[in-house]
Each structure stands twice: as C-alpha cells, then as structure tokens.
C-alpha cells in the first residue's frame, strides 16, 4: 500500500478513537469541565501531562534542532525536563492542596487581590494563545505534507476534532484523549528510532545506540565530530553557544516549564497531594522516554544525511531527496556547476539547505523503512499537536469563564451558565487559534521563546513565594510580576522586533540571548517582590493561615467551586 493510503488509514483510526473517548467521557459539571472531576489516577494524569506537554515542536522539530545544533540542543533537553523537578518539588503538591481550578485563582486568592488575578489572567492568555497558534500550524503542516491537502483544510480538520472533544468533554474528555494520544505519539516516535538504531549500530535501544559504534567500530559521535570539522561546522559534541548563554537558556526553559499554566492545571485533576507528586514523577518518566531518544535520533539522522549527500553526485540522489525538494524543504543550488553537492558551513560555498523539521518527518524514508512506519510518524505528529492544543484551549476557556466571568465580572452566574460560558469561550478560542494557524504571524517563533520567558518572569516567582514565604504580600507580588514581565517584554522586543533602538547579537547584555533572558527577569522579579514586601504591610492573618494550611497534605478537599 502507498504511504498516502496508510496515512489516511492510521489518521482515520486514531481520530475515531479520540472522538469515541470524547463521547464516552463528556463533562456534566464545571468540576468535570475544569478538573476532570478531580479523580484522575496519578498514572493516567502522568500520561496525559506528558501528551499535553509534548507539542508539535517536541515531536517534529526538537530532534532536528539538536541535529543541527549538536551540544547546543542540550538546552531544550535539560530545560524541558528539569522543570518537572521544580514542579514536583516546589509547586504541584501545594497547588493541589490549595484546591482551586486555575493558576490565576491561586494568585488572586493568595494575594487577596483582583489586580493580581488580572495580571495572572493576562499572562495565562498571552502564553496560551502564542502556543496554541504554533500547534495549529503544526497540524496544518503534517496534513499538507503527508496527505497533500492544503494547509487551510488541514488546520480546519484539526480545529473540528479539537473543538469536538474539548468543548464536549472539557478537562475530562481532554485527559482521556491525551492518554490515548500519548500512546500513539510515543509509538510513532520510538518505532523508527529503534529501526534506525539497529541499522546504524546494531543496538535496538536508541539511548545505547547513541553511544554505539558503526560496523567499522568507530563510535558514531566521534565519526560525526570528524565529519563536522572536515566540513567546517562546529564540533557536534561542543556546539557554538557560550557557556553563560547555555546556562541562562536552560534555566529560563526549566523555570518557564514549571510556570506554564496548562501544565500546572493538570495537577488539579488528581485526588490528593501525594498523587500530585507521584503524577509529576510519571509525567517526567513518560516525557523522558521521548527526550532521551530524540538526541539519538538527532545523531543518527545527522550522520545519515551527511553521508548520503556530502560530495555526492546530485544525479545519484535517492528518491526522498527529490520528493522533499519539491516541498521546498530541501534546496540545492549548484553554485560551482560541478553536479556535486557541497554541504559545508561556509555560506559562500554551501550549496544545500535542509529544513530542520525534515530530520524527524523524513527520517524513516531516508533510512528506507516501510511505508506504514512513515504513515505512523504523521499520526504521531498530529497526536502531539492536538493534545497540546486541547490542553491550551482549556486554559484559555477556563481563564475566561472562571477567572474573568465568575470571579470578576458576574459572580452570581449559575454553574450551568458558567459551563455554557466555558464552552463558548473554547469555541471562540479554537477559531482564533485556527486563524493564526492558517495565517501564522511571522513572529510566532520569537513569541514562543517569549512565552517561556514570560512564564518564568511572572508566575514562577509569584507562586513559589506564595508558598514558601508567608510574609509575601500583594504589593510585593504584583510589583514583582509587573516589573518581571515588562523587563522581559522590553528585552524581547528590543532584540527580536528592533523596538527601543533595536540591537544585534553584540549588544546583548553580557552576551545573554533573549531566549535566556527569562532567567534574569525572574531573578529581578524575586528581588523586587521581596524588597517591596519588606516595606509594606504584612498580608492579613487569614492569608497567612492559608499558607500554613497548604504546606501540609492532610484534609485535602476536592477541587471545589467554593
């Protein structure tokens, strides 16, 4: 059977599965809609969190980024996993004990202030919208490349599916579809990785094949380092970023991960505090399976690519080369007209440009794997994009229906009315996300980094101080969040959009890239918050009692609509 037939079959089966689960688990109350009834098992929540977290970027782009960046790609590997340690140790158990529906809920109540709540709602919406646009775009790309429908149709199909199970099922529907989506995506990622690892090193476990040797007994990593220096690229195992910048970016991604609202809310769905800790462990375990495989895939595909194309005759290129050339993701420009591909670091001499997304999408073809595996990758990419999109849409809809309408605009709204509001805002959010998926603003890539920086600069310090520093008051928290966000926005817009006089790489403060600046903004937030709180009144006694109370796990209630 052709790749296309296989893709339609696999995508059809997985989509019907998601819809089936949504019908079976539809939400009947706001409690179901926001936190899946609060009774999800730690293992299921771990699976769902892993799918929620691993987006189209993790599935499609990350291995490619590592493939081209070598050691530099480590910032994503450590940054996007290390954040779970912070989450499990510093945030999840206490937020679960606090027992509310959303992150702005915690901020608003802990800091006894609707101003603080509004700042939090603003950040949650900004972060989630940026992210969800990227996911919808991912859906469109997978559809257009594998099924040869245009991107718009692809995005619309994706919108309808997400709309169906997010609106109908709320958090409950999303949780159980995410469990299924995790299984699909991890299977789709691992199968080609295992095959390629066997082909290249004889070892079926990619994590071990990563350090393995080829038939001649040369370690792959050494071989690639050699190839890289021959062609003028930076050594694969050393990369080209400065140590300080690697440090800052890793820290910003870790702290940002721990502060992302769509990840945090997942821990409101379990029954008790001990379960919140345990499900963070499971989540990271399931994420680690993909994250420790990705660098191995990166190495294999990089080596494969260089060996296949470098200094070879263009006319001898395999079929996949021309196929991806027609999509514009591989471009060859024979500058010296010798009919041979020169793939080197030197910009003047280089004749080949390869899009990084190909490393995962075309990897099975490059390695000559059977058609059903190639189709599987498409189904996996869709699962990754849809699961993350759904989680984000829920954050958006609950921010609107719960934090804005119920908590600020119309507290008298009935539960039924709130549920309707939640569903309507989910529909609106899907449409907005779909629009940005079809017409992606050029700044999406820049703003995704901003999303992590913002989460690091705003939520993380406010939540951590709210739990670990009893005397933290609303003045300190609000001042910290506002200064943190503004500083982050300033640095980002200055160096990404050329505002405030712009600047180049050489003007970065101490050589810190905008991606890594979240770490600085976070530290400034902590300093401002603590200093301001020293000079203003202590928080009221009830609030200090709340803090005492969330520090011990006993007597946890269900997440309630208080």
């Amino acid at each position: 059977m052709s790749i296309q037939t296989w893709t339609w079959i696999l995508v059809g089966i997985t989509f019907s599965l998601y819809i089936g689960i949504a019908i079976w688990s539809r939400a009947k109350s706001t409690n179901d809609f926001y936190v899946a009834g609060g009774g999800v098992s730690p293992l299921a929540n771990g699976l769902a969190t892993a799918a929620d977290w691993m987006s189209a970027a993790s599935f499609i782009s990350m291995a490619g980024i590592i493939s081209f960046g070598g050691y530099d790609g480590s910032v994503y590997l450590m940054g996007w996993t290390g954040g779970y340690v912070l989450l499990a140790l510093l945030l999840a158990p206490y937020l679960r004990k606090f027992g509310k529906f959303t992150v702005p809920d915690f901020i608003g109540d802990r800091y006894y202030s609707n101003t603080a709540r509004s700042v939090a709602v603003f950040c949650a919406l900004l972060v989630s919208f940026t992210y969800v646009a990227g996911q919808m775009q991912g859906v469109g790309i997978v559809f257009s490349r594998f099924l040869e429908v245009d991107i718009t149709t692809g995005v619309i199909i994706g919108m309808v599916i997400v709309l169906f199970y997010a609106v109908l099922g709320g958090m409950k529907g999303i949780t159980y579809t995410q469990v299924a989506q995790y299984c699909v995506l991890i299977f789709a990622f691992m199968v080609p990785a295992i095959f390629i690892s066997i082909q290249m090193t004889g070892n079926p476990i990619p994590q071990l094949g990563f350090g393995g040797a080829d038939e001649a007994g040369v370690y792959l990593l050494d071989k690639l380092d050699g190839l890289h220096s021959e062609l003028g690229f930076a050594e694969y195992t050393s990369g080209s970023k400065s140590t300080l910048d690697v440090f800052m970016i890793t820290a910003a991604l870790m702290v940002g991960t721990a502060g992302l609202p769509h990840v945090i809310v997942r821990f409101f769905t379990v029954k008790k505090v001990a379960d919140a800790r345990k499900s963070a462990g499971w989540a990271l375990f399931f994420i680690a399976i993909l994250y420790t495989t990705a660098p191995a895939v990166a190495l294999f595909s990089r080596t494969n690519l260089i060996e296949t194309v470098s200094n070879k005759k263009y006319d001898d290129m395999p079929e996949w080369f021309t196929k991806w050339e027609t999509t514009g993701l591989i471009t060859f420009n024979d500058k010296n007209h010798d009919g041979i591909i020169q793939y080197v670091d030197d910009h003047e001499m280089n004749e080949l440009d390869v899009n990084r997304d190909i490393m995962v999408l075309a990897n099975p073809e490059i390695s000559g794997l059977p058609n059903w595996i190639i189709a599987l990758v498409a189904a996996g990419g869709l699962a990754a994009a849809l699961s993350t999109a759904a989680g984000l849409l829920l954050v958006i809809s609950s921010s609107v229906s719960h934090d804005l309408i119920k908590k600020m605009i119309k507290p008298s709204i009935s539960e039924k009315g709130e549920l309707v509001a939640a569903r309507v805002s989910a529909v609106v959010a899907v449409c907005v996300a779909g629009y940005f998926g079809i017409n992606p603003p050029g700044f999406v890539a820049a703003v995704v980094a901003l999303a992590f920086g913002l989460a690091a600069a705003s939520f993380f310090p406010a939540i951590v101080l709210g739990i670990f520093y009893k005397k933290m008051n609303k003045e300190g928290a609000i001042a910290g969040m506002v200064v943190g966000i503004l500083l982050m926005l300033f640095y980002m817009t200055k160096f990404k959009f050329d505002w405030f006089g712009g600047g180049t790489k050489d003007d970065w403060w101490y050589g810190i890239s905008p991606e890594g600046f979240g770490t600085i903004a976070m530290i400034v937030n902590f300093i401002v918050a603590i200093s301001v709180s020293k000079f203003t009144a202590d928080p009221p006694k009830e609030v200090q009692e709340i803090v005492e109370n969330i520090r011990v796990p006993s007597g946890v209630g269900e997440a309630q609509n208080h």
Partner: protein
C-alpha cells in the same frame, strides 16, 4: 507541624542541589573538564547534558515521592485514612 515543614525543606534542599549539579554542573559548567572522561562512545559531560541529567531528574522526583510519603505517615497526614 514545624518539624514536618523543616524536614520537607531539608529534603528539597538536598534534592535541588543534586538537580543543579547534574544539569548546570556536569552538563554545562564543568562539561569541558568532564568531556576528558569517556564512557563507551560518550564524552561524559556531553552525556550528562543529553542523557544523564534527564535520568537523574526522573529518579529525583520518585525519591521525593517516597521520602514525603514516609514523612506524611510519620506525622499522621495519611490522606487515605481521612477520605
């Protein structure tokens, strides 16, 4: 109550120091020194950055889960009994 929180903070401190050492320490700050050591096909610093730190992260969380479950029990915060 006080001793429960104190013990919790002690656990956090120890685990976060390990968290910092394997990622920011071994994977970033001391990578070049560690790269002199080789394990099979891996340079050690590079291995910590792309593999080792992630394994340790998973272990750290499960160690914390165990420690806290024991601590909860010792202080009578076993949630199952109350629910």
């Amino acid at each position: 109550m006080k001793s429960y929180w104190k013990t919790n903070l002690k656990y956090l401190m120890i685990l976060l120091i390990i968290w910092f050492l394997v990622s920011f320490g071994a994977g970033i700050l001391f990578r070049e020194e560690l790269d002199a050591i080789r394990i099979g096909g891996f340079k050690l610093g590079f291995w910590f950055a792309q593999q080792g730190s992630i394994y340790v992260f998973v272990i750290l969380i499960f160690v914390y889960v165990r420690l806290m479950n024991k601590l909860d029990q010792k202080h009578g915060f076993n949630e199952d009994q109350e629910l």
